[in-house]
Subunit: 201 residues, 2 copies
DNA sequence: AGAATGGTGGACCGGGCGGTCAATAACTTT
DNA sequence: AAAGTTATTGACCGCCCGGTCCACCATTCT
């Protein structure tokens, strides 16, 4: 009954996301977005609304995808739970330090730039952090059940602490701190987790 | 031999800093800075150069002041070193969560927004992080010497880890996470520091 | 007093900003 | 094939951006 769209919405949103990711919100112009997507201004406005709505859309999607991906990564049997979590965080350390990945994390960048002024961004970010925390806690509970963590360990507290550390990796990584340091932080944190009494060295 | 300046340079730089601090670099216009400082454009350009130089100036000053202030806070006898560090980090947690302090930390904001494109910002940020880390390590060494930390504890590693956590506090605080959570992260980290054998419970 | 020096304020500039709109194209329905 | 509907394009809008420039002013030196 009408002319169909000639672009792939998901693909366009990916291009928009990358643009915001690379340059930040305020520093990205609509012309940048036009060039990145190959679409005219009218199409962008018609399909997604203004710049701010466009940002919210890709920001939300980024948060949902990140969280889902982490959940999937950490999913698995009790046996390897602690090691999965450790490997995941080491991966974050490496990614945060990689000079190729200098853009950092869109969640961090968007929160830093907009959360103070935009409640939607703050809410979504907090929700995502809570989700990550919950995934960490689940992993730690599995680890405790399997005996990789002391019975007296407190997964909720440890999970929150590891979440804090993880966001810190991202922050110091953006300043250019080297990979060895970032991975060292993770390893130090894990070395100090409470070990079951039987295995205490 | 010429007309003297009618403004206090330090005061002007403070106003400029607050503006960048509140709105971010890209979102702050020269008009904002004129209004914040009360100076005309000519004076600003004549005294400090363009917007970017102005930012670098206040960013550098912020880094130097922050670092110095932390060093002074953590300074003291071996006896209370660990507690001083703990209290300092709890203070960061509280400050990061305070809704009044929604602007966060200029070092974090500036790094997040500009470090990827501006080597000067990245360098200065990294230098500051290293300085903070060193101050933490010094505190931990004092604590170990005094017997508040196990002899086998590794201050450099622990200091790096605590730095990571501290930057994470700032990051999750900006999303609006509550004070109790942030303080809990710090307390959890400190509860898991290696305690001297004599005092192990 | 007058010249020299440098600070001050604001008019001014070209360009890029976010956003609108009307003409046109591509499709479905009747 | 005609009518109806929506996507697309890019010209266009007013505004504000960062930055320049210059007329004017306050001070000091001679």
């Amino acid at each position: 009954m009408a002319r169909p769209r000639t672009f792939d919405e998901a693909q366009v949103l990916r291009a928009v996301r990358d643009q915001f990711w690379n340059k930040g919100y305020a520093a990205t112009s609509m012309d940048d977005l036009m060039q990145a997507t190959g679409l005219g201004k009218g199409s962008l406005y018609g399909a997604f609304g203004d710049k701010h709505q466009l940002f919210l859309k890709v920001f939300d999607a980024y948060c949902v995808n990140s969280l889902e991906s982490v959940k999937k990564t950490l999913e698995g049997p009790d046996a390897g739970a602690l090691e999965r979590l450790r490997q995941y965080m080491l991966g974050v350390a490496t990614a945060s330090a990689a000079p190729t990945n200098r853009r950092g994390c869109l969640l961090a960048r968007g929160t830093s730039e907009l959360a103070a002024q935009d409640a939607h961004v703050a809410d979504r970010a907090l929700e995502t952090f809570r989700g990550l925390e919950a995934a960490f806690v689940r992993c730690l509970e599995q680890a405790r059940a399997h005996g990789d963590l002391a019975a007296h360990a407190d997964p909720p507290k440890l999970g929150a602490m590891l979440l804090g550390l993880m966001r810190g990796l991202e922050a110091v990584g953006k300043a250019g701190m080297d990979e060895a340091c970032l991975r060292g932080m993770v390893e130090t944190a894990f070395e100090h987790l409470p070990v079951p009494a039987k295995r205490r060295r």
